[in-house]
Amino acid sequence: MTFTVTIINTGETYICRETQHLLAGMVQLGKKGIPVGCRSGGCGVCKVKIIFGDYKAKKMSRDHVTEQEESDDIVLACRVFPQSDLTLEVIGKLNKAVNS
């Protein structure tokens, strides 16, 4: 099954398979909008809020997603597999560690 993912911050849409996490779907099609980091649930830069739609999520670092956030559909895109068309809002961002 494939589903349509919509990023409301940018209006970008892309197709994602149910076996792909939301970042893999985005990157594979050369689309942008959600920051890409470790793609393993550990770094937190791809944090999003799912506004509409169903999904399954794998384990995410508690440093970045609290239990409360998880129950409020605030998740890491790299751990989320779509079960329907999805609309999401990007929350995470990359830090600039070295300023020059």
């Binding site: 980091g37 470790c38 793609r39 393993s40 550990g42 830069v45 670092s61 440093d63 600039k96 560690a97």
Partner: protein
């Protein structure tokens, strides 16, 4: 040169969110060898060419990151010496009893000004590198995946950078091998306790206690390319590479473990003696300092830690 005091990085304890996925990554894909487990669920690993029982400890957790990094010192006397140095610097220390990590002697634990937990120990059970010590073969058979040779160093992001470097050079007696400066401000420091280009490195950051990567040695550029093949074959999230660093000259590739801890495998970096000059890179040339070929900074590499 006689090597005394702190000898080398002894081990790193990494937090992982799924122990089975982590073992597939570190053992099947990178070539580390499982040597033990304990009743806290921790799993002990070593690279093939290390004689001590373990150099990586995987700790089951609900988050990623580095629990601590430990350095091996040459003798019990050195343990007392550095414990006293750390206390005199004004940092509290704690002794952890022998056997808390299986096969490891008593450890001295403290938190650096950068917010990372470090430990020192003098004794660890030796299990050998899989080869005889008389007439040894050059390598053991049946090593898997990338065939990582040894745990080499960590690069860490921390705050209170200047005080932290003063702590490492004065209390722990490391030497500055290479640095990045922005005018008068040091933004990165590569420190050594041996003749390696670095045994640990720190980046000036606003956040305390973060892991940028744990690094493992390979034998050649060809082995770095072989690692790159495995990264794609096994669907491992790639960060950057294969390429060469300006800093340390190492040929390198970066990727993430299944919990989001970044790893590096690298080969053929530079070396340092106590009379070598400090090498300096400037931030107006930062792209080339970090990625010598593309000379372009990568957002995920600069901004992502665990």
């Amino acid at each position: 040169m006689a090597m005394t005091g702190i000898l080398r990085p002894g081990h790193v304890q990494l937090r992982v969110m799924d122990i089975d996925e982590a073992l597939t990554h570190y053992c099947d894909n990178m070539g580390l060898i499982e040597t033990d487990r304990d009743d806290q669920g921790r799993v002990y690993l070593k690279c093939w060419d290390e004689h001590d029982k373990f150099s990586v400890v995987l700790e089951p957790s609900d988050r990623a990151g580095m629990d601590h990094m430990a350095f091996k010192v040459k003798s019990e006397q050195d343990l007392w010496h550095f414990e006293s140095n750390v206390k005199n610097f004004g940092i509290e220390t704690k002794r952890i009893e022998a056997g808390d990590l299986k096969g490891c002697g008593e450890r001295v634990r403290f938190v650096s000004p950068s917010g990372h937990t470090f430990e020192l120990f003098a004794e660890k059970e030796q299990v050998g590198n899989g080869l005889p010590t008389t007439n040894p073969a050059p390598w053991p058979e049946d090593i898997k995946g990338m065939k990582a040779i040894r745990f080499d160093h960590c690069l860490l992001y921390g705050n209170d950078h200047d005080e932290n470097i003063r702590f490492f050079t004065e209390a722990l007696e490391f030497e500055l091998a290479e640095q990045v400066v922005d005018g008068d401000v040091q933004v990165a420091a590569f420190l050594t306790c041996s003749t390696k280009a670095h045994d640990i490195a720190f980046i000036r950051s606003e956040e305390a206690g973060k892991l940028h990567h744990a690094s493992f040695l390979l034998g050649s550029w060809e082995q770095v390319l072989h690692a790159a093949d495995i990264i794609s074959m096994k669907d491992i999230p790639l960060d950057v590479g294969p390429t060469r660093h300006g800093l340390t000259r190492g040929m390198t590739i970066y990727y993430f473990d299944p919990s989001g801890n970044r790893n590096e495998v690298f080969a053929e970096d530079s070396y340092r003696y106590p009379d070598s000059p400090v090498l300096t890179w400037t931030t107006d040339n930062l792209g080339q300092a970090i990625f010598y070929h593309s000379r372009t900074l990568v957002d995920s590499f600069m901004g992502v830690t665990s």
